[in-house]
Symmetry: C2
Subunit: 341 residues, 2 copies
């Protein structure tokens, strides 16, 4: 039964730097519109599980959103809750909905992810909210995400010989991909030179190596009886959810992302699929270094050789293993709670 769980509907707002919609308006839009995307139709009453993904209530000043979603779709009988797991909140929502559907506890899940990161009106304020993901020690000394990824990037580049140009290639690719995605936040191509000339945020990471602050929301419908709702469900064949030390300095290998490797291994084992069988990858490129390291964690490249895939064009839109054809977090945008849904 578990192998039969599939996505039967999906709806996303456009991702924007500053949406004119309030947070709850974005939630209402995706929660109600997703039903219109189901080929054979689904009534809101058929949903018995609502899982909401949101990173911080400090952006939109909003909590208790599962019953809010329930009230918007007019179905207060569904069981609901919100999950948070830093930037993996959305993935966690899908993971939990899958678990709860596959065990037979529920039949149809509505998953809503959202974040309106412009809501607090200042990048400094947003930066503080983002730092809450770090370990208490890192938060105390004021280490932002970009500095923690810069530690990873410097160690990776020192050890394996990747350059700032290699990082830039990721940004160039993902910006180009985003121009094919009308919902993406950025709709302009950039060059390696543009990236290299953009200011350092935390050396070696520059402005154009970084994903933006984004406003956006997404909803999907997951069903344990997907064929009832569409002839072309997107089945979920494998899943993994793993952790590492929140503090970068505590990790076994500072230049790796071990949790991603373990989660990918779980998903490969469960599905019987290997990396080379996969046609399209959507992976976490909050900073360009992240995409390169993930090539290695996911088994697309040997350790220390991820940046060569980028040089060879393997992961470009027309390559043999396209990565982030949506534009990725880098160019599609990264409204945290929506990411991963």
């Amino acid at each position: 039964m578990s192998s039969e769980i599939g996505v039967v509907g999906a709806y996303s707002t456009k991702y924007e730097a500053r949406s004119q919609k309030e947070t709850h308006e974005m939630i209402r839009e995706v929660a109600t519109s997703v039903f219109k995307t189901v080929d054979k139709g689904m009534e809101p009453e058929e949903v018995d599980l609502i899982v909401v993904s949101n990173y911080s209530d400090s952006f939109g000043n909003i909590l208790h959103t599962a019953p809010l979603v329930a009230s918007y779709i007019g179905n207060l009988r569904a069981t609901g809750f919100r999950v948070e797991n830093a930037c993996a909140a959305g993935t966690t929502a899908v993971f939990l909905a899958w678990k709860l559907l596959s065990s037979g506890s529920f039949k149809n899940a509505l998953i809503v992810g959202f974040e309106k990161m412009s809501a607090q009106g200042s990048t400094a304020r947003a930066g503080e909210i983002l730092m809450r993901t770090a370990s208490p020690e890192e938060y105390r000394v004021g280490a932002p995400f970009v500095s923690l990824y810069a530690l990873i990037a410097r160690e990776y580049m020192r050890r394996y010989g990747a350059t700032e140009e290699d990082l830039a290639l990721v940004a160039v690719k993902n910006h180009e991909n985003a121009t094919r995605n009308p919902l993406a936040q950025f709709q302009r191509k950039i060059t390696v030179e543009d990236v290299l000339k953009s200011p350092y945020i935390s050396k070696p990471i520059k402005l154009l190596d970084s994903s933006p602050l984004s406003d956006g929301a997404v909803a999907i419908l997951l069903s344990a009886e997907p064929r009832k709702y569409t002839d072309t469900p997107v089945y979920i064949k494998g899943l993994g959810l793993r952790h590492d030390f929140p503090a970068v300095y505590q990790r076994e290998d500072m230049a790796a992302l071990k949790a991603a490797r373990l989660a990918a291994q779980d998903a490969y084992r469960m599905s019987g699929v290997s990396p080379k069988d996969i046609d399209v990858f959507e992976i976490h490129d909050a900073f360009t270094i992240s995409e390169i390291v993930l090539y290695e964690m996911l088994g697309l490249a040997a350790r220390g050789e991820g940046y060569k895939l980028m040089r060879e064009g393997v992961t470009s839109f027309s390559g043999s293993h396209p990565v982030n054809p949506s534009g990725g977090l880098k160019a599609k945008g990264h409204p945290i709670g929506a990411t991963g849904v």
Copy 2:
């Protein structure tokens, strides 16, 4: 198998108005200490699920707490996530852990609930954070929790003839109960006169009808093989999780708490137990009116007669159906994420 799931360990900090511990120190204390409460011992490595309950990251400026807990107990192989469901975050954590254990997905769950509500240093700031639970319309007009409960109280009193003295009796009972609980925030008895003389916050609710802002954390260990860890597990025989409209004005009956009635019915049905079989109740008395209405929702009293139970002493410590012998939220304290765990 599902009827075999039981609590095998439990640990709580003292609840305080202003804890000297930082939020992450409270988390570490309960996450590590709970293992020492397991009769036959449990190693942190035996935990394969971590569920964290926290209301708002705006109190403690902390997110991504499931892997933090994992790092504190030295077990990064467990799957973890944080849940939020307003004041039911803790109950939701237990509900989900139970679901995931009963389906065989996991064996042993560590549940950690916490909130350091003094962390932002001002009651006004805390008040704004609490208002995020309300509907967007209520938040927009600035309606705090106490005013929404005041609407419920006024309608209940008008319709059924309960008085402000009846509300006061709940506070008196729960304060007296708290003096028997060394972990409770308040350790002083109060009189009906004390309550009636305390200032109105939102008429008819007074200061002493209201639960306090609290700092505290709790951890429990839930096992699908409880006898392996203790000869006296606390089995979970019935559970329910239901919602109503977040906005009070949208509810079918403004003087009821319908979601609680439905959730209780679910739990009674699942366990085969009826209200009169239950020896001890711990229920949500964020404001005194809430406890009285819940007597009716839980089937302890007929509709409109909850306040009479209080007058007759049925729910006092030595009554036939003691309610909130811990002191309840009113006097034990209400660090939101810890409540319900």
